[in-house]
């Protein structure tokens, strides 16, 4: 564990006890103290920059390689491409069927995301706002699903889907994505609906609105921040899903992006079209990276809100 290595700067500081500041910090700064801060600052930046490079470099390598010839990828992995060649992009998009995989993914994720948000918020609203026998049981049944290994259920699920004729269909995949997204969605939105004031909903009911109408016209609009957070969380999870489609969706025409790319990487390994493969990778990365850069704050908030609970 990295934290136990005491960096030199910290040890140095430990040896200077009792350096009591007079309160306004900078005014009482001694030469030693400034030096110490400087060393630590350089050390922090050094370590942080190294990790930043480690994170960015592989992605940068993939983008550069997508513009190069296969020969250049191997001979000079870090040289900039000679010219911007979009050949590989066209090959990936058309011949390697990335366009079809892209469309499949958009359909599956679009359907699942809407379904997850609608069904998840309905269940969460009822569980958060109404007292009825079995409320706690249903809540824990949903929430329990967050911690069990999905792989265990996938084996029988494969045969359940087979019997229902849902195997290798887009709508079947959508239903499964929704079902497996519900535990976290219900968990998150239940606690969210509890934080909303009851008075507004009561006022709507007294004015004669039905429960259903109150939910759709009053409560859902109020729950928008929560829906956005959980929506981003589910969008990334469903867009990046790999295990569910690998098991339940083996028809080559119905592949989603992640599957298509794995297929491409095994077949391109033999065909040798590496630049095509890298172009495919970059095509699959672009939507989420673009979404991340534009909605950076919301993405971080959406993802971390989930883990903090």
């Amino acid at each position: 564990m990295k934290t136990t290595d005491t960096p030199p700067a910290l040890r140095e500081e430990a040896r200077v006890p009792g350096q009591r500041s007079t309160g306004d910090g900078s005014a009482g700064t001694s030469r030693a103290k400034r030096g110490e801060g400087h060393v630590l600052n350089v050390f922090s930046h050094g370590v942080l920059v190294i990790w930043a490079i480690l994170v960015i470099l592989p992605l940068f390598w993939a983008v550069m390689s997508a513009f190069k010839s296969d020969k250049a990828i191997f001979n000079s992995p870090w040289a900039l491409p000679d010219s911007l060649s979009f050949d590989a992009w066209g090959r990936a998009w058309n011949q390697a069927h990335m366009s079809e995989y892209f469309l499949n993914t958009v359909l599956v994720v679009g359907g699942s995301l809407i379904g997850t948000l609608v069904l998840g918020s309905m269940a969460a609203y009822v569980l958060a706002r109404f007292d009825f026998p079995g409320n706690r049981f249903i809540y824990y049944l949903f929430v329990g699903g967050m911690s069990f290994p999905v792989m265990l259920a996938l084996v029988p699920l494969f045969y359940v889907m087979d019997n229902m004729g849902l195997l290798n269909t887009i709508h079947g995949l959508i239903l499964v994505y929704i079902a497996y997204s519900l535990p976290f969605t219900v968990f998150f939105l239940t606690s969210f609906f509890r934080t909303l004031p009851t008075s507004v909903a009561e006022a709507a009911l007294i004015d004669g609105a039905s429960h259903t109408r109150t939910f759709f016209q009053v409560m859902l609009p109020m729950a928008r921040p929560g829906l956005i957070s959980v929506g981003i969380f589910n969008f990334l999870g469903q867009w990046n899903q790999y295990m569910l489609p690998t098991v339940l969706n083996t028809d080559p025409d119905k592949r989603v992006l992640a599957q298509g790319l794995v297929e491409l990487s095994t077949s391109q390994g033999y065909k040798g079209d590496y630049s095509g493969l890298f172009a495919g990778l970059v095509i699959a990365m672009l939507p989420v990276l673009a979404a991340y850069i534009v909605f950076q704050r919301q993405v971080v908030a959406g993802l971390t809100a989930g883990a903090l609970k």
Binding site: V55, P156, Y159, V160, L289, Y292
Partner: protein, 306 residues
């Protein structure tokens, strides 16, 4: 107000409950039942065989290897990832030069670091695995290409070497999860009141001490839930995806990278042993539950409030 309440409740719960029970709960219950049968998955006929699958599992070398690797991942991965993340988050928030007035401060540009570190988190685990599969390629990959440029001669055959393969896979998981926890811990650290640090530093505590005496105890709840989260991730879908995509052959050279979820998948969909696969799945469930219980038990501390 109570008029039609139950009709409303049933109406709103029925669709989500139906989906959840049909696709999640019911297969889950079935799988425990199937673990006591000799079902192949290929034909509809099967018989109850009692604990045969379980005795078979205890004699199965591949099962023990998978178990060993899964447990190793569940222990080491959170340790390394959370350790690195705490270290970076502390650097970001407390490692900076003292600026006027402030006793502690973050480094300049901490916003940029957080954005960059978080990047891999939004990428599909499958894409990450493919990317690194090529980066690790012994003859043409980015890693050996760079090592060669620095003058190294004996270049390792990363994923093809039984001794290295699992470590490479672990490194990839660390690569893509650390940034998430840096951001998470940074948020936690930012909400710790500044006067705690001020008081400690005025009393002559080093930053090293303040980390272990102030920061870590106050973040403990977040660290603990991160630990459980990482463990479940390593034992589940992410572990499966990375090993399935990156491994050379089925489960790496000489089964050096195989993990429990991969073995469940192979037994069910490659070997036609659906019954036996669910037995391994039950073992995976027990390992996951045991892991969560141990972390909760070991991690229990007095809750600190501020």
């Amino acid at each position: 107000m109570q008029h039609g309440k139950y009709r409303f409740i049933v109406g709103f719960l029925i669709a989500p409950m139906a989906l959840y029970v049909i696709f999640v709960v019911w297969p889950f219950i079935q799988s425990i039942y199937y673990s006591f049968t000799d079902w192949t998955g290929l034909s509809p006929d099967f018989e109850m065989v009692g604990f045969d699958n379980y005795t078979k599992m205890f004699k199965d070398d591949v099962f023990w290897k998978s178990l060993e690797h899964s447990v190793l991942l569940a222990i080491l991965l959170p340790l390394v990832t959370l350790g690195l993340a705490l270290f970076f988050a502390f650097m970001l928030n407390v490692g900076g030069r003292r600026r006027k007035g402030a006793v502690i401060s973050g480094v300049r540009g901490s916003g940029f670091y957080k954005i960059a570190y978080f990047f891999p988190q939004v990428l599909s685990i499958a894409i990450v695995a493919i990317l690194f599969q090529f980066a690790f390629d012994p003859a043409q990959g980015m890693i050996n290409g760079s090592l060669k440029a620095f003058g190294f001669d004996h270049l390792p055959n990363w994923l093809g070497d039984p001794k290295l393969a699992l470590w490479c896979i672990m490194a990839v998981l660390v690569w893509c999860t650390t940034g998430f926890f840096v951001v998470l811990f940074s948020a936690g650290m930012a909400s710790i009141p500044k006067d705690f640090y001020e008081a400690a530093l005025l009393d002559g505590a080093s930053r090293f001490t303040t980390f272990f005496r102030i920061t870590l105890p106050l973040l403990w709840d977040t660290v603990q839930s991160g630990w459980v989260y990482m463990g479940i991730l390593a034992l589940g879908a992410e572990g499966f995806a990375v090993v399935n995509i990156m491994s050379v052959g089925p489960g790496g050279p000489d089964y050096s990278t195989t993990v429990l979820p991969l073995y469940v998948y192979q037994a069910a969909f490659r070997d036609g042993q659906a019954g036996y696969a669910t037995t391994i799945g039950v073992a995976l469930l027990l390992v996951t539950l045991a892991f969560a219980a141990v972390v909760m038990k070991l991690g229990r501390r007095e809750r600190l409030e501020y």
